[in-house]
Point group: C2
Chain length 372, copies 2
């Protein structure tokens, strides 16, 4: 990503077979530039701005940037732990993505870029020369909600083994994320490619839907009712999405070969959908799941009604959360309730907060536990 | 897109099962807001900016935006012809995408957003309730260039008809575009879904690679040599990409079932790859292809050597370009050379310039002519 921009502009400046669609009149800006020691220089061209800061998820507070004579603001960080980090620039109070980085965080609530610090050793989410699965963008038809997008990972070999069926992981994104976020920021496909190549995870299909009915006013009343939104998505999930997947993919259709996992708001949805339907999902995993204490009883009614049956159905009930996560407290309270009800679960408390760095790690921890 | 943002912020403000990953402290900004009469309001929050303009491809010159008391800049356009238009904001000389719009133009040279004005009648690129093909993100291995991305469209029914083989269209993007641009901005998948549903186009596979070897300094000399870059991509295209496709997809492997098309720089590459290899591609289509007059002879050597054989091989040689396109002149000069050499071609001169609006239209004109 770093060197590309400079070279492209050089290419455009030279006479060339490859004519440019839209010449870029900005000065050459390379950003982000990852250095050999894992420090990174971020740059942003804004000659008239008064203050530009970098908001990056490897830093707890914004980093001040300084402007050169050309009007390019820059900051060089200390060496960073290899990972992928969302970041944005704050330009006089306005948050913008990095215009020189094509790695965009797909999200409806904010616009961030993503920097990858690869380091010298491949990480579990690093693109490596191993067999790769396929990431498919599909549409399915929802009776009530119209044409809906879903992203589906099929493991390496899926296309060439037409007699083999596979277990399925339904993987839900965070509140303002979209159906692409799990692959583009969560690298779910690459993580599974690597774990499968290492023999650590079973080949599986991963289904990543757009995880809301509609970010829209309730059709019935005109007022905002989030609970209704969730109910509509539940209808769509069980009534349209799952049948679409099971009709169009070679899935093994029983609870022991179905998992559901999700992050943040999608983690809350995961528990609501999965934990309460343990006859359909034997594996239920919350990655920093979003919950409210006063909704525990309502949202877990089915699971709490018969804890013995719930325990019998579930092969894995897993919750991971960061110690700095704003949801750490509510997740601890939820686990206390699970303890009281004698519902079995595994928990993982990590360093860090409510980030996709943690979420990628949780997926890499959980995937080897599925379907075994 | 419009109403989503408001609602999401309301959802976040309410106590909710769906906890948010990153609360957004900006004021509620809805942008773009498409009105019923096809006018559009664009908004951008920048309380400290001095001048903000809208650069949109439906306008020849930038539109001035005005700031309200909250610091939100806005402009409402006149009614716009229904289509999809790239746009950006220029904030005190800095070009940025619309932070409130998730529809991003994938490109390495600039960062634009895309607004869709749907109008009352579905267009050829409008998502409709018809059978949809699959868009797959794959990686293939290149001996020299490492792991390479490619996006592949398979038509509706591909997965469920394992005995049917299909013709293939190789579709190349513009100079600074990437492998996603043809689907996300060009809507190649939706256009084909619609044309196939209407019986106007044959079901086909579309292969959309990352259309450069590397935006990088020549390995051999350290100096920038674009010609070398093209030679490397040619090696990769014929030596790795095509074999990968023909091994992993049910393709019909002869020239009459292979087409190649491309836009701008990718149009130049299309002519260089396809027109000179008419034994491999019977259909060659340039969408505002990028060319230089002093390279005509070098780049078309094989095709010009034996015009009779070239005419015999090609079932369609098609060039389309807009009358306001900066490449209109060189394309006319190229056609004069084709006339002199008695090489047959079809041409289409449209209104408008070097835009994806035109390119989508060219694809919709050409697709029905392929493989018939």
């Amino acid at each position: 990503m770093n060197i590309r921009k400079i070279i492209l502009l050089l290419i455009l400046a030279s006479r060339s077979l490859l004519c440019v669609a839209q010449p870029n009149s900005l000065p050459n800006v390379v950003s982000p530039e990852v250095h050999i020691d894992n420090s990174v220089t971020f740059r942003f061209y804004a000659p008239k701005a008064t203050t530009v800061t970098l908001n990056a998820q490897f830093e707890k507070s914004p980093l001040l940037m300084t402007k050169d004579q050309q009007g390019i603001w820059a900051v060089k960080t200390a060496p960073i732990k290899p990972d992928m980090y969302p970041y944005s620039f704050n330009v006089d109070g306005v948050s913008v993505a990095d215009p020189n980085n094509t790695a965009i965080f797909p999200n409806e609530g904010f616009q961030n870029s993503v920097v990858e610090v690869t380091g010298s050793t491949p990480l579990v989410h690093s693109l490596q020369n191993v067999p790769h699965g396929t990431v498919s963008y599909r549409y399915y038809q929802s009776t009530e909600l119209g044409t809906r997008p879903v992203v589906i990972y099929t493991p390496p070999g899926y296309e060439n083994n037409p007699k083999v069926s596979y277990p399925v992981l339904y993987l839900l994104h965070g509140t303002t994320d979209i159906e692409e976020t799990w692959t583009k920021v969560g690298r779910a496909n690459i993580i599974l490619d690597n774990l499968i190549a290492q023999g650590k995870a079973k080949p599986m299909i991963i289904v990543m839907p757009y995880g809301r009915a509609f970010p829209v006013i309730s059709k019935s009343s005109g007022s905002l009712r989030n609970w209704d939104n969730l109910q509509e998505f539940k209808k769509d999930f069980f009534g349209n999405l799952m049948p679409f997947i099971e009709k169009n993919y070679r899935t093994i259709n029983n609870k022991d070969n179905r998992a559901i996992a999700g992050f943040s708001g999608g983690g809350g949805t995961t528990l609501y959908f999965g934990f309460n339907n343990s006859d359909k999902f034997a594996y239920v995993c919350g990655f920093a799941p979003g919950m409210l204490k006063n909704e525990f009883d309502r949202n877990n009614e089915a699971a709490f009604k018969d804890p013995i049956q719930t325990n019998k159905n579930l092969k894995l009930f897993w919750i991971g959360v960061g110690k700095d996560d704003m949801l750490y407290g509510v997740n601890q309270e939820f686990m206390q309730v699970l303890d009281q009800k004698k519902i079995k679960y595994e928990s993982l408390f990590t360093e860090g907060g409510h980030t996709w760095m943690n979420v990628k790690y949780y997926l890499s921890v959980v995937a080897p536990k599925l379907f075994k």
